[in-house]
């Protein structure tokens, strides 16, 4: 790390001058809105209004007592843990595979990483077409190989929809895990594997004793980061199902959107958003703590 230097006269002024536009924008776009959203959560804001009378914590009480909230909370946990668990397992497997030298590995890597790069709306469009009940290629393929006997209603049945959305989310985001793990896998000293070879260690032993301990910190950090991002993901679910059928895929961010911009109850939406943020806050605190430690070590 470069040594910070502030030994020249006028440097301090320059430092603040260079930083102040960023700070000003962040205050206007993040800090003020954060205060505002708290204020809004304690107002009764009627349909189509932007503010209303102060009602204390009544919005929070109403939200917490609402079965729709509990449903969204449950859906959020299924969505987050389902997605992250599969992403981590698949990501680790693919990263290990791509860490082996083979011909045309560059092409394989490019194809595998592409889903992460494409816009969400593109992924959604493509999967919508593939999921189609009548003309979808997915049902055709699965029936052709005999895995299913009749077409599945991927997005139009309450029991399948969450699985389908997780499937699309995993496809879109697991390459992030691959990228993160590939970096750390390449950093493991090769001598350790050579030494293990001489001692006659099996591939599985080498994985448990060398690979896993080395990648564990990054693996956990990646899992945490994916959990945070998956938790507040809105667009992929909203675009795939709109939260439906009925409310089978309504997660907390989708519920906030529906309360705020479909029902136009901004006060209630603000309260739900804050509760969502509070749950997420625990994860964020762990993440920031880990990053601070990494910073300090640098």
């Amino acid at each position: 790390m470069a040594e910070p230097n502030t030994d020249l006269p006028g440097d301090r002024l320059l430092a603040y001058l260079a930083l102040s536009p960023s700070i000003a924008i962040l205050i206007l776009l993040v800090a003020v809105p954060m205060v505002t959203v708290f204020a809004m959560s304690m107002q009764h804001i009627s349909l189509g209004e932007l503010s209303g009378p102060f009602v204390g914590l009544r919005n929070f009480e109403r939200v917490l007592a609402d079965p729709a909230f509990l449903n969204a909370l449950g859906n959020t946990f299924v969505w987050v843990f389902g997605s992250v668990a599969i992403e981590m397992a698949l990501g680790l497997g693919i990263a290990l595979l791509l860490n082996i030298d083979f011909r045309m590995r560059g092409i394989a890597r490019a194809v595998i990483l592409t889903p992460y790069l494409i816009p969400t709306v593109v992924a959604v469009l493509t999967w919508h077409y593939m999921f189609n009940d009548i003309i979808g290629v997915l049902n055709y393929l699965l029936m052709a190989v005999g895995l299913i006997s009749q077409p599945l209603l991927w997005l139009n049945s309450t029991s399948m929809a969450m699985f389908s959305v997780i499937l699309v989310g995993v496809w879109k985001f697991f390459p992030f895990v691959v990228i993160a793990l590939m970096g750390i896998l390449q950093a493991i000293p090769q001598e350790q594997y050579e030494a293990a070879d001489i001692d006659g260690a099996s591939a599985l032993q080498k994985f448990w004793r060398i690979t896993l301990p080395h990648i564990m910190p990054v693996f956990l950090l990646t899992a945490l980061l994916r959990t945070i991002w998956t938790f507040h993901k809105f667009d992929i679910i909203y675009l795939m199902t709109g939260g439906g059928p009925i409310d089978a895929t309504t997660t907390l961010p989708v519920l906030v959107y529906q309360q705020g911009f479909v029902d136009f109850a901004l006060g209630r939406a603000a309260a739900t958003a804050i509760i969502t943020f509070a749950i997420l806050g625990v994860l964020l605190a762990v993440y920031l703590h880990l990053m601070k430690r990494a910073e300090a070590r640098q």
Partner: protein, 302 residues
Amino acid sequence: MSTTELSLAGSQPGGLGRYNRQAADLHYVTSRVMVYLLAFTAVSVIGFPLFWMVICSFKTSTELYQFPPAFLPHDWTLTNYRDLFIQTNFPIYFVNSLVVAGGATLLSLVVGGLGAYSLSRFKFAGMRTVSMLTLLCYMLPEVLLVIPLYLFVVDLGMADTLISLIIANTAFTLPLTMWFMRSYFNAIPASLEESAMIDGCSRFQAMRKVTLPLALPGLVSVGVFSFNHAWNEFLFALVFTSSETKKVLSLGLATWIGQDNIYSWGMLLAGAVLVTIPVVLFYLLVQRRLVVGLSEGGVKGE
């Protein structure tokens, strides 16, 4: 290889050594076959949706709605692409997206680049806190910010404008730029600037002539990440804009989903392909820094 052979030959009687070597060769061949088989499976399964999107965008509408589907188009056609430009507002969406993503990126690079430089080069009270706060900003849920920002946008009479989207996107691209560029500046030795200043440059000249050129690859990379973020952004666009002339690509294409009686799947898929092209081109540009960049942006390796 030769040392292993020697040790094998040395430790065991000749016949058994050869047997072991044959077994080892067989083991090697099977494991290679496994690797290729796994790689082939992974690439086909993961790549299939991409393949399908591109292939189907060249199909005629009859083939697009036919079941069972044909894997390769019987008649390749560009009709879908032509219709997209003639029958829809796709060109308007595309320009709007360029304006929004370009505007947010430029704003973040100029303001955030300076801010990051300050955070990296100077020591002052609260520096570490400011750095951690930028990271926190980047991790805030969009749904939390969209409610108050919507209020401001309506209050200021900025509803249904592209400016509102540029500014709202900056709430995420600015912290991203600051966090990323701070680590980038940290990696450029301050001594380079100091020598330039000893040679008579002012601090500002040293920054412009020495550090800026060195930081350029970093600025390009984080510019691409920011651009991609804003290009992808959907929630702000959904809440802030409504008229056809102000829609960006993500919102424009999204409103077509489920209206396949009006907009054919062919047009949608052709649109999807065209939306992807700029993003993939940009990533090819910074491909080598991609791995580093993503890990700097979030997962900072040990």
